[in-house]
């Protein structure tokens, strides 16, 4: 059996043993055993991905499994990329779980949660490895049901976990139904195996192809958390235990992108221009709306979740423009855009996993997610703070970070115009503007997250009592940080793999060369040395710090300037809400915050105010505009439905009589 096959089978077997081990082992050992086994599953996933990327395609038929349909696994370079991504995240989460779940058998360390985690990782690995429509749908739904159980892990401690679970279940199932209808329609028209579909995709009628594409787009955009279909994402990621949110945010949402690329490029073999414009438009909307909501969010994990929506938006922009260029005929630029999108999936997986793991250790130590109550962790949890800062560097797409590399590649693919084309002449600049504004607000968001969340003085007693996380969590975070650093400094190691993927998606290999240390667009003078840039920043900063230390006397602590009227208290610090207030005022009409001020007067006179209560909440406008009316309509439908069964026997007999008369009449008339 070639390496990909063995690796993938070992991964799935390890996942199964981990699940069983979770049920068998006592609470003290459960987290350690399951953590290591999940890490093992992840590493064999990475091994499988790497083998697939280096050209060892693999497929296997298992007709006896999954009654009525049979299963078929097929791993090509595209699925290899996502296997690698998921495996890497799973390794980190596995090691992290050892410390995070801890010896106590409650919450994340409980038996159901620890047994569902490996099955979730196994399902995540199964989706990209699926080779036929039924297997893909099985993996998809297995992923949904296990993540549903994991999201509900801490339902005993917080009341809002329940509503988050219901939102998540409902929207995931809605997405699944659209994907099910789309893919079964495709399977009926072109055969269930992906190989058969690829062969007959050319002869499919455009109507079927468009319908299948739209259905799959809705389902996959819902899973990816793209904006119009995003309300589950901030809820599920905020309420889920952090190691699960890391897996979901870094790995699971990417499978929405995988689905789009697989169906859009590979199975249907590309499509008309409006397909790719829709994807780009959804991407732009997700990027802008996601980052704006993240900028004003005060819940740390909700901020990170909305930032996932934003990064998914950027990835979809890349995929959209890859399709647009392909339609315009500029296959080189299409390959470049797709390469940027794929690299950003990996980069985002890296820094977002690091951020969620960091947030998890902060929340575990302080017990709260609200940025307005955190603060002062840089002294109490130095390692976590530095690692979160490293993650934020990547997330804010600042130069030495890995986010900057893929954003640079994305901008380059938009800057080089293939020629006339009115649509592109408008779309490309708007896309650049969207990416720029998103990057700008993103930087402000992450400065807020790190600045108010981790630096200066603790705002509440809970934050004051924080202590550093157990070593296994720190080790996991360091591993992810190193991976991000490697991706930031040597992104070119991924280029041969990306080249192979893009070639397999009917595009030419991307025009990138320039050896190990530089990214050079072949045919243009645009080049960029990520290695030397990072080295320069570190060396010059060190030099300047050392040189400056030689001048003047030693540093001393002094009371900060308090306008001379007494000690500064922690209440005087800028909180996340106040930090984001200018930004929220700038985007006031887009965010439409709800403010209510109720003033209570003394009974005697209306002029003397007893108390003023001010509450401000920034709602999710898309949710209020589209989802709340839908829910109210369903409620009304439910209440009207009660009229169907009023309990009166004569109504029921009347139903049966009308049915009988209808059947008899049908017989008579026809």
């Amino acid at each position: 059996m070639n390496p990909t096959g063995t690796a993938l089978i070992t991964a799935l077997l390890l996942a199964a043993t981990a699940a069983l081990a979770a049920l068998v082992f006592p609470a003290a050992w459960r987290a350690r055993v399951v953590g290591t086994l999940v890490a093992g599953t992840g590493s064999s996933g990475v091994w499988a991905g790497a083998a697939a990327l280096s050209g060892h395609g693999w497929d296997a038929d298992l007709p006896r499994l999954l009654p009525l349909a049979g299963m078929r696994l097929a791993v090509d370079s595209l699925s290899g990329w996502f296997l690698l991504l998921i495996g890497a995240v799973a390794v980190a989460v596995g090691v992290y779980t050892i410390g995070y779940a801890g010896p106590g058998g409650r919450g994340a360390g409980s038996r159901p949660s620890l047994s569902l985690l490996p099955v979730f990782v196994g399902a995540l690995l199964l989706v990209p490895a699926a080779g036929s429509v039924p297997t893909f749908l099985l993996g998809w739904e297995l992923m949904a049901v296990t993540s549903l159980g994991l999201v509900a892990t801490e339902h005993r401690h917080h009341a809002q976990v329940r509503s988050a679970t219901v939102w998540y279940a409902a929207m995931t199932q809605a997405g699944f139904v659209t994907v099910l209808i789309g893919l079964t329609w495709l399977a009926a028209a072109a055969g269930t195996d992906f190989t058969a579909v690829r062969a007959t995709a050319g002869v499919l009628s455009p109507a079927v192809k468009n319908a299948v594409f739209v259905l799959c787009l809705v389902g996959f955009a819902a899973k990816a958390g793209a904006v119009p279909l995003h309300p589950w994402l901030p809820r599920a990621h905020a309420e889920a235990p952090s190691h699960v949110s890391a897996l979901m945010s870094a790995a699971m949402v990417k499978l929405g992108v995988y689905g789009l690329v697989r169906v859009g490029f590979d199975l249907l073999g590309g499509g008309p221009r409006w397909w790719w414009l829709t994807i780009a438009a959804i991407g732009a909307l997700s990027a802008l709306y996601g980052i704006m909501q993240a900028a004003v969010a005060t819940d740390l994990k909700r901020l990170l979740a909305f930032s996932t929506s934003e990064n998914i938006g950027l990835i979809l922009l890349g995929v959209g423009f890859a399709g647009l260029y392909n339609v315009e005929g500029a296959r080189g630029l299409a390959a470049l855009a797709m390469a940027a999108a794929l690299l950003h999936t990996l980069n985002h997986a890296g820094f977002k996993a690091l951020l969620f793991l960091g947030a998890g250790s902060a929340v575990k130590a302080t017990g709260t997610r609200d940025l307005d109550q955190l603060g002062g962790l840089s002294r109490r949890m130095p390692a976590t703070t530095m690692l979160v800062a490293a993650g934020a560097l990547g997330a804010a797409a600042l130069p030495p970070g890995n986010g900057f590399v893929s954003e640079w590649l994305l901008l380059q693919s938009l800057l080089h115009q293939p020629g006339a084309g009115a649509v592109l002449a408008i779309a490309a600049p708007t896309a650049v503007a969207v990416i720029a504004l998103t990057a700008g607000i993103g930087v402000a968001t992450y400065v807020k997250a790190v600045g108010t969340g981790f630096l200066a003085r603790p705002r509440r007693a809970a934050a004051a009592g924080a202590t550093e996380s157990p070593p296994s969590m720190i080790v996991a975070m360091i591993a992810v940080a190193l991976a991000c650093a490697v991706l930031a400094v040597l992104p070119t190691i991924t280029l041969p793999a990306i080249g192979r993927i893009v070639a397999s998606l009917h595009l030419v290999s991307p025009p990138l060369d320039g050896g190990l240390t530089a990214i050079q667009l072949s045919g243009y003078t645009t080049r960029f040395w990520p290695l030397w840039l990072a080295a320069a920043i570190v060396v010059v900063t060190g030099l300047v710090a050392v040189l400056a230390r030689r001048f003047g006397r030693a540093r001393r602590r002094a009371v900060a300037w308090d306008c001379g009227d007494g000690p500064l208290t922690s209440r005087m610090e800028y909180t996340a809400t106040s930090f984001a207030e200018p930004l929220q005022r700038v985007f006031d009409d887009a965010l439409a915050p709800e403010r209510d001020v109720d003033v209570t007067h003394h009974e005697e006179s209306a002029y003397h105010v007893q108390a003023i209560a001010y509450r401000q909440r920034i709602p999710d406008r898309i949710e209020n505009r589209f989802y709340q009316p839908l829910l109210r309509a369903v409620e009304r439908l439910g209440l009207a439905g009660r009229g169907l069964a009023p309990g009166v026997m004569h109504r029921y007999l009347a139903y049966m009589l009308t049915a009988l008369i209808a059947v008899l009449l049908a017989g008579v008339i026809r």
Partner: protein, 487 residues
């Protein structure tokens, strides 16, 4: 005919009948175990029939009883659900004060009638057995002597008798047509004879007979618009009884529609039955979805979920292709297993919380982890999520729908099922999840022994295994699908 085959033909009806007689005589503590033994006997005979050569058929008792692959599959379902229901009986009876003897006899009679119905090679005999189940379960539904259960029993008997009488009218018309086409005496209504002489039946009369038969058996199968008795009866009956009724009685009624469809298609062509079944299926899905949204009683919730699943089964039968019928049969088995576990668990929830209202059950997972686990997992399985077999069969129905050109029906059906999914998920989450309220930390009145949950666990694991690997059942499923006229 080898003796184990003959034995397997007679035991499903004889064993429960014998157990019923014993229950009259023996003290209830022993009668419970003889009942369970009878259920195991039915399951065993089902298994023996499946393991032998699937295509072979066994007949006996002057041609009135016959067992082929489809019957074997139905016996398997009846046996499995009966084992779960009878295993739950001791737990249930422990909390009931009186009438143990009557309860146990009627349950066994109920089993005997269902086995007889499935084994009958004669449409008339099938009807008699089905009507007998209504009469036998009438007192089971009214067992608890509360105001609601008496009302439920009355509605159940009247509505079902009226509904099934329509089917009998249809059978009479069919008999007339079969006699006109050369059949005589009791064999004129036998399934095999009808199947062979279907093409010579008078089309107009057969169309009238088909309409009436589908309506009549549709009532007992819980298809809309004849479904109104189902929620009342299943919510008021004792938990094991509603497990049996919802799990397998609906499917036994639908078994007749499955068999009759082959005959009607041969006589009239597939269009007429397909339109009737499609309308009934979509009507059931609409009714179930609408009434699940604002549901207040979790046993009625499970009843409406049965209507939804029977609607899906009718949809699959309407498509008619081989994979659709196989999916329908797998769905019947899967739904039977999981719905019986769900109802037994809901019975224990009713005992623990004392009220059938969804609003009265709070943070069950925090207070009763074992019971909440069984109930929660069975709800997850009912929602059609993997690894349970309902996912595989729903996927089979969807693929068959598109393969037979009814893509629009699949789309409409799955959207309605999505509404039902969200409703059930919301109610389930409200009952199970959430922090335990501060004051109710006291343990429930009788400390809940885990023994009741063991059988529920076995039921769920079987459903999960069926969802991934059918093993020996694969070929009997194919044979049954062929027998049921999957062209």
């Amino acid at each position: 005919m080898t003796t184990p085959m003959m034995l397997a033909l007679y035991t499903p009806a004889a064993a429960p009948f014998l157990a019923a007689l014993l229950a009259l005589v023996l003290p209830s503590r022993i009668a419970v175990w003889t009942g369970l033994l009878a259920a195991v006997a039915v399951l065993a005979s089902g298994v023996t029939l499946t393991t032998t050569d699937a295509t072979l058929s066994v007949s006996g008792a002057l041609g009135l009883l016959r067992a082929d692959a489809l019957t074997a599959w139905m016996l398997l379902t009846i046996g499995a659900v009966a084992v779960i229901a009878c295993a739950a009986a001791p737990g249930y009876l422990r909390h009931e004060a009186a009438h143990h003897r009557r309860y146990l006899t009627l349950i066994q009679l109920f089993l005997a009638c269902m086995s007889l119905a499935v084994l009958a090679d004669n449409l008339g005999l099938f009807w008699v057995a089905l009507e007998a189940t209504t009469i036998v379960t009438a007192f089971l539904v009214g067992h608890r002597r509360t105001r609601e259960s008496v009302e439920a029993a009355w509605k159940y008997v009247v509505l079902c008798s009226v509904g099934i009488a329509i089917a009998f009218l249809g059978i009479v018309c069919l008999y007339a047509a079969s006699v006109a086409a050369g059949g005589h005496g009791v064999t004129a209504l036998s399934w095999t004879h009808l199947a062979s002489s279907a093409h010579s039946l008078d089309p107009a009369l057969t169309k009238l007979a088909t309409g009436l038969i589908l309506l009549g058996f549709g009532t007992k199968a819980g298809l809309a618009p004849m479904h109104a008795w189902l929620p009342d009866a299943h919510s008021q009956a004792p938990a094991p009884v509603s497990a049996l009724m919802s799990g397998v009685l609906l499917s036994v009624a639908f078994y007749a529609i499955l068999r009759y469809r082959a005959i009607a298609d041969a006589a009239l062509g597939p269009a007429y039955v397909r339109t009737l079944l499609l309308t009934a299926a979509l009507a059931s899905l609409v009714v179930a979805a609408m009434l699940l949204i604002a549901q207040r009683d979790y046993k009625r919730l499970l009843a409406y979920s049965s209507i939804e699943h029977m609607g899906l089964i009718a949809l699959g039968t309407a498509f008619g292709v081989r994979i659709a019928i196989a999916a329908v049969l797998l769905h019947i088995l899967g739904h039977g297993l999981v719905k019986s576990v769900a109802f037994c668990a809901s019975g224990q929830v009713l005992h623990v919380t004392g009220s059938p209202d969804i609003a009265a059950v709070r943070a069950l997972a925090a207070r009763q982890p074992g019971l909440a686990g069984a109930f929660g997992i069975s709800l997850v399985a009912l929602l059609g999520l993997p690894p349970f077999s309902l996912f595989a069969s729903e996927l089979g129905v969807a693929r068959a729908g598109f393969a037979s050109g009814h893509g629009w029906a699949v789309a409409v059906a799955f959207t309605l099922m999505l509404v039902a999914f969200v409703a059930i998920a919301r109610h389930g989450a409200r009952m199970l999840l959430g922090p335990p309220a501060a004051q109710s930390t006291a343990p429930p009145p009788s400390v809940h022994r885990g023994r009741g949950l063991v059988f529920l666990g076995i039921g769920l694991t079987t459903a999960a295994m069926l969802g991934l690997y059918l093993g020996p059942l694969t070929d009997v499923l194919d044979a049954a699908a062929v027998v049921a006229g999957g062209h």
